[in-house]
Symmetry: C2
Subunit: 397 residues, 2 copies
């Protein structure tokens, strides 16, 4: 039992030998020069090269590390499988396979796709999420107005900008309580639920208390810059039953860890598989469409890891940046129906303002799940028509 | 007041404009299209481009971010200055300058160079540190024997292998108490102090309790894989007065964050400046000499950040890997007298065993601080002579 790591190493004629040295060096150190009796004692700790597949520029190397060597936490696993190898140029860590007993140590999402849909009472279409815009330096009335405008347009979720931290104008706890009141009022008026992901930030050792307090105050979800704190910290938040809120894992900073061609983690592993394992209910990452972008292959790879069968709840993909209503059919083509369509500029930049901005998305979503062309749907939705006039449509590839 | 980030961006004819877009996008969002009265309100939040210096392949871009925008913690600062920019190809973060009020939020080392020297009673030479070898899969008597052999050879510090985690054969608390007894006994016999850095590992939320317990049991130092947990977690451990132990920050995994040419953090920033700011008493990083290596420029850059005047205690550099006694003069040439000479294979690989292995280093250190050539010192030290016969010397560059 243990974890199997798949790497890409720069191609080398003696790759088998190199891989074997690493498998030993990262576990028991040496093998052939120790007595037989000690080999018996050490064999349960010995790393094993599972396979070496030669490629043109990179060879795919798979190494098994026994569970006996590490505790069942990601800091120990990362340090084992990549702590030293990260110093070697061009050594990429593209996947980790956990055996079932190890996998059982990870909680997965508390809510996930099904739980979030239940909270919202929305089962038959992609969800619509908005990002607060320009709150920094502005006050709670600005914040409240924006939330009301977006709810009026039919959004399901809204999140803080990930760079909005504790501040005097819009304090964390005030944002929570004011948003709760507005969302509750909206529900009483319309019957529509909504979730607001408040940015859980500050010092690492204060996060639990702060999140527990937010829960008490009626917070509906948390935004968390997981890569500023580490995946294990997200896992702890997920496991804390005194919090019990959906967690939107934001991929800020993951470009350092996964975004560099030919090195680091792969995005599907980091922002997909591992974010889901530790308990992210939603995983936000750069879409392949905007100016802050990752490759289409990586984005689709993340989504696949978030939803494939592994016994855990599924995590909602939230591909972000550069999203406007004309892009909705492409998003559904790429990510399926179970995704969150997330927009900032694509809502606030609408020529008629944020409420029609959100309505345009809702019209585009409703049309797209019915396979109705947007231009046709725009005939009965002036917000959508104005959005398409402004941003255009894109041909689905 | 705030933080000034220095980046290398791929060269671009419109770099000033790009930099300005980022300075706005990462703070208040927009500027020219908002009314004058709101500009007054927002100007204390506006990011500013400090300078753009054109280069051949990379331009050096410096951006100032006001303190009003973030809380005084590294997760917030990292997310602000690099959360989004990390997704842009070839955007490197090479330095962060903190204003004095922000700098005062960071503790720096509790002990540092002076405090560690006081603990050891050694003021006039580089310190000698050893790494336990092959403990994985072996028991406490193996561990004890190794520690006794190393102490007999005159080591000042010893650390766990960073991949030794909680395990049944050599449990964390047992390692602490047994090492304490052996080190105490050694002191009674010889008057020589020594520190053992036990690997503090496990789930993030358990670290403080585990470290506090280690302190109660008489631990003398902690080893911490800081990049598996985040710098902010190291800072919390440093600030916890119920721990109060020297912390050896290990750079495992930092190759992901800093080791990729043309992207990510710089090593001097991450493993030098920031590791010191949050409270690492010792910073262990790959030496430029071995098979797991970083560049000489990076290694010296780290050391410079660990010791330069900034009002905080200095952090000991622990350049590691590929160190043997013949290399000591080069280490002193590169890092000065205030460093820790750290060896694993360079001690255990000595032809006569680990005690002479450590003695060889001590002889090399004593000679080098007196500027006595090693070959000359070897005439009166057979452990050093055998080490030089085995590994050779290197010409100091």
């Amino acid at each position: 039992m243990g974890v199997t790591a798949t790497y890409l190493f720069p191609t080398h004629p003696d790759q088998e030998k190199i891989a074997e040295q690493h498998a030993l060096g990262l576990t028991i150190g040496s093998w052939t020069d120790i007595p037989h009796i000690e080999q018996q004692q050490l064999k349960h700790h010995k790393g094993e090269v599972v396979s070496v597949v030669k490629g043109e520029q990179k060879d795919t190397v798979t190494i098994f590390y026994p569970s006996a060597n590490f505790s069942a936490d990601l800091p120990a696993i990362f340090t084992t499988v990549y702590g030293k190898l990260s110093f070697f140029e061009g050594y990429e860590l593209i996947d980790l396979q956990f055996d079932n007993s190890l996998l059982a140590q990870f909680p997965g999402p508390r809510f996930g796709v099904n739980g979030i849909r239940e909270k919202l009472g929305v089962y038959d279409r992609p969800l619509l999420k908005a990002i607060f815009k320009g709150v920094m330096g502005r006050d709670l009335s600005f914040f409240s107005t924006q939330l009301q405008d977006l709810l009026a347009g039919g959004i399901d979720l809204i999140k803080d900008d990930e760079i909005l931290f504790e501040n005097e104008l819009t304090p964390f706890h005030k944002r929570v309580t004011i948003a709760k009141d507005i969302i509750d009022h909206h529900y009483e008026k319309t019957g529509a639920h909504a979730l607001y992901a408040v940015n859980l930030s500050g010092r690492s050792h204060e996060l639990h208390e702060k999140a527990e307090r937010a829960t008490e105050l009626g917070a509906s979800a948390l935004l968390f810059n997981v890569h500023a704190y580490g995946l294990d910290t997200l896992q702890s938040l997920r496991e804390n039953d005194n919090i019990g809120l959906p967690i939107l894992a934001h991929s800020a900073l993951s470009g350092v860890l996964a975004g560099q061609a030919g090195s680091g983690f792969s995005y599907p592993l980091l922002v997909g598989k591992l974010t889901r394992l530790v308990g992210g209910d939603l995983s936000l990452f750069p879409s392949p469409y905007g100016n802050v972008a990752i490759s289409r292959k990586d984005a689709l790879g993340i989504n696949e890891e978030l939803i494939q069968d592994n016994g855990l709840e599924r995590t909602f993909a939230v591909p972000s940046a550069g999203i406007h209503p004309g892009m909705v059919p492409q998003l559904l083509e790429d990510f399926g129906d179970n995704l969150v369509i997330n927009a900032g500029g694509g809502i606030f930049g609408h020529p008629d303002g944020p409420t029609p901005g959100a309505q345009a998305f809702r019209a585009a979503i409703d049309a797209s799940v019915e396979h109705i062309p947007l231009q046709q749907a725009a005939k009965t939705s002036s917000p959508l028509r104005h959005a398409l006039d402004h941003w255009g449509t894109i041909d689905v590839t």
